[in-house]
Symmetry: C2
Subunit: 195 residues, 2 copies
């Protein structure tokens, strides 16, 4: 379950040591050092050539229902690590929110296709990255709208949570595993739509 | 879905190249050669010191309902690779079946606890191995009756199938990941009950 203290759900950070210890994560947060192995390389690949992001509402924050005010500005402080337009899926309209460092949150109420269209227009020749969470990725997978997906497998039991693949006929949707790269703290599985 | 041509379900063999190419698997089937790396070592560990096996009915065969006759003798031919008593969970009684090489299939209709008790008695100081399938392992996990579990992660999409961990509160049952070993064709995740 997500709340203010648990943006990734209870225990969710335990899925991410491969990323949280990487040089690329530390740089994004203005920190020196960090690991430079396979996990870092795989994380870096995911940030190359991204011109716009799409996030689900819960990935943007713990606020549910209509926005009570404009005070919630994401989990990431004044300068979020996106540096591009970020399209946030929501049922409740809200004016765009310009942050330091080039990130602008734009709230899309017309659904996943509209968000993708707007993100593509904003990205131009660059790629659009869908940052999550699970429900958002599932919707785009079901629509066969994702070309390539990086799935980092970290074997840990959380006890509860959203299931990314459950009840999805992934090969029927045209997806296959195209690459498996063992990292220091996770196994990186690359999934692509082949048809 | 399981049938005579698909003992592991459609596509299920694609989960097992780490095992089917190993020296230990080939030896069990009277064949020379085979790979001798990490995958083979992990497979070998699973056969050491086993004094009895427990299998679910579907792991024994594709026959459903009451046994029409005694003709089905398992997937493995005249000399199955167990070489111990093998307790088969079923709702339908059937006399024991003695095979070549020390395997004896004994059919248990009184449920998972009775099967475990009988398997322990047969194994003496040796270990009991639960061979599967998924539904059987889940029942023993829910009963906190498994001490150690070897989970080989092979990233592949089958599109449908039984889910080993889904909806189980694994940490609540006392289980944790204790070891992660990257192999040549699978990542080996060791899970143990710690309380």
């Amino acid at each position: 379950m997500q709340d203010l203290q648990n943006p990734l759900g209870v225990g969710g950070f335990e899925l991410f040591p491969w990323f949280l210890n990487s040089r690329v994560w530390r740089r994004m947060h203005g920190l020196d050092g960090g690991e430079t192995g396979v996990d870092n390389q795989m994380a870096e690949r995911g940030f190359e050539g991204i011109g716009a992001w799409i996030l689900g509402r819960n990935m943007f924050g713990p606020v549910r229902g209509p926005w009570p005010d404009e005070s919630w500005k994401g989990w990431w402080g004044e300068e979020p690590p996106y540096h591009t337009p970020v399209f946030v899926l929501t049922h409740h309209p809200r004016p765009p929110l310009r942050m330091a460092g080039g990130t602008e949150f734009r709230f899309v109420t017309e659904g996943i296709h509209a968000a993708l269209e707007q993100a593509r227009a904003a990205a131009g020749p660059a790629d659009v990255r869908i940052g999550g969470g699970v429900a958002t990725i599932r919707q785009y997978l079901e629509g066969r709208l994702i070309d390539d997906l990086h799935f980092a497998v970290r074997p840990i039991f959380l006890g509860a949570g959203e299931q990314l693949w459950s009840e999805l006929d992934v090969p029927g949707l045209g997806y296959q595993v195209t690459e498996v790269v063992p990292g220091e703290r996770a196994t990186h599985v690359m999934v692509s739509r082949l048809d």
